[in-house]
Amino acid sequence: MTRTLFRNLAVPVVILVLWQLLSQSGFIKPVILPSPLAILERLWTYLLPAQSLGESAGVSDWIWSSELLSDLVASMRRVLLGFAVGAGLALPIGLLMGTDRRFEAYLNPVVQFLRPIPPIAYIPLAILWFGLGDPPAIFLISIGAFFPVLINTITGVRNVDSIYVRAATNLGADRMTMFRRVILPAATPYVLTGMRIGIGTAFIVVIVAEMIAVNSGLGYRILEAREYMWSDKVIAGMIAIGLLGLAIDVGVNRVNNHLLRWHRGIES
């Protein structure tokens, strides 16, 4: 137990100590690589309220006054909105494509053609169509979330064990019941995997979209910091992005494990 903990911490600690020594020796300029302590300090001021809050201030005042927290909220909001649009379209289309051969025959060529285009490649078009601000960002994020959810939903429906369909037919299930109470839940493990990948992609896209089209959020903040040559803030922003990404993944995983508590092999 303690040995594992030691092994887990050894490499990061050695890296940080070497890094700190290297920066202190003046061998590398702080603009190129700021010291870990400077980054930590910057992260702290980034988190604190920009101006001192009054006595009566609550948590929400703090969130809106802290640059880091308001950036986190802005990025999160875009991820959730874009994901809702992308996954919300992908789920019904995927269910239909998975169950109905004719529907699939109509849509599959378009899907296969559009799927390999990275969402980032839509940036110029997104700006032409939607201008600047949130709309192009949401558009790009929803594209990022759409395809993983779509493809996994189709696969999930295709992989529904026919024994469930036979059992449900035998018990008198009509088409609608079959869809809602058998095919959809049976496909959930795949659908949720798609959603997990989709929200991961959405998170990548939000950072890029914020560097281009808007002036808030974590992506915008690290690009802004670079313009002032605040490399400590750039890295502090990257750390915040990493932590948010981790938090999203842990959260999604929790939800998945709850929804799949009936499932045999639950991923950890």
Binding site: I163, Y164, R166, A167, A168, T169, N170, L171, G172, A173, D174, T177, R181, V182, P185, A186, T188, R261, W262, H263, R264
Partner: protein
């Protein structure tokens, strides 16, 4: 009066529940297709416990699936309750070897599934589900998911799920094939108890001679490819049967010679690589 006599009385006065006349089933294009069933004539009367017995590839599951409506005959007449079979339906409850429980539903929800579809009122539904949980010893497991149950418990749930709809016929496709010997015997006893108390007609597929003689009021032996009826025997032993008694073993021995001849033909094809499964 034992159950066997009740069966005899019913035979005398009732119409067949299942009637197959000249039923053929060919898989693949004809000619050249595999003839799974050939000229099957079979009548099953209400209250009978019919075991379809034979080696792999003899078409016993094909016949069961035809009655269930999953895979219709290529030609011939197949009727249930006087109406031709065209599709699966809740009047012919099917119990599968692989249980086929919905893993995302609790035990309770699995049993209630058919009642939900039928639109049974919530009070009556609760009563039926409670009775079945009681009857099959599942009370403590009602909120569990199938993954947390043993094979024997799962098959109990599958039987309860079918019984919930109170079908006149229960179709069972090697339902105890995946269970260990002890669990198997206790489920066989439970099934016999249910059959005798609720008066269902059961069509039961098995490749175990012992199981067929232990359960069936009648055993139908099928031949290996093409599947035809080789022998149709009533088992006159009273229930509960003693599988160690000389009478039991005499019947078993008699049936074994018939089944083994079919199995040898299957084994020969298997060596030639001609079997389907």
């Amino acid at each position: 009066m034992n159950a066997h006599h009740i069966v005899k009385d019913m035979e005398a006065q009732t119409k067949p529940l299942v009637r197959a006349a000249g039923v053929n089933k060919v898989f693949g294009a004809e000619p050249g297709g595999v003839v799974a069933l050939k000229d099957i004539d079979l009548e099953i009367r209400p209250g009978e416990f019919v075991c379809l017995l034979g080696p792999s590839g003899c078409g016993k599951s094909t016949l069961l699936n035809a009655i269930a409506g999953f895979s219709l005959p290529t030609s011939g007449t197949l009727e249930v309750s006087g109406k031709p079979v065209t599709a699966p339906g809740p009047d012919r409850g099917m119990v599968f070897q692989e249980y086929a429980l919905f893993p995302w539903m609790t035990v309770e929800a699995n049993i209630a599934f058919g009642l939900d579809i039928r639109g049974t009122g919530s009070e009556e539904k609760a009563r039926i589900v409670d009775d079945l949980l009681d009857m099959l010893g599942l009370k403590e497991f009602r909120h569990r998911f199938p993954k947390d149950l043993s094979g024997g418990m799962r098959q109990r749930v599958a039987i309860a799920r079918v019984l919930a709809l109170d079908p006149p016929i229960m179709l069972m496709d090697e339902p105890f094939g995946a269970l260990d010997a002890l669990t198997r015997r206790s489920l066989q006893d439970e099934l016999l108890r249910i059959w005798r108390s609720v008066g269902k007609t059961i069509v039961f597929v098995t490749h175990s001679i012992e199981e067929a003689v232990y359960l069936g009021s009648r055993v139908v032996i099928l031949t290996y490819r093409p599947g035809t009826i080789k022998r149709d025997v009533a088992i006159d032993l009273p229930y509960p049967r003693d599988s160690n008694s000389p009478e039991f073993n005499a019947i078993k021995k008699d049936l074994a010679s018939l089944v083994h001849a079919e199995h040898d033909r299957f084994a020969l094809d298997e060596r030639k690589g001609l079997t389907l499964d």
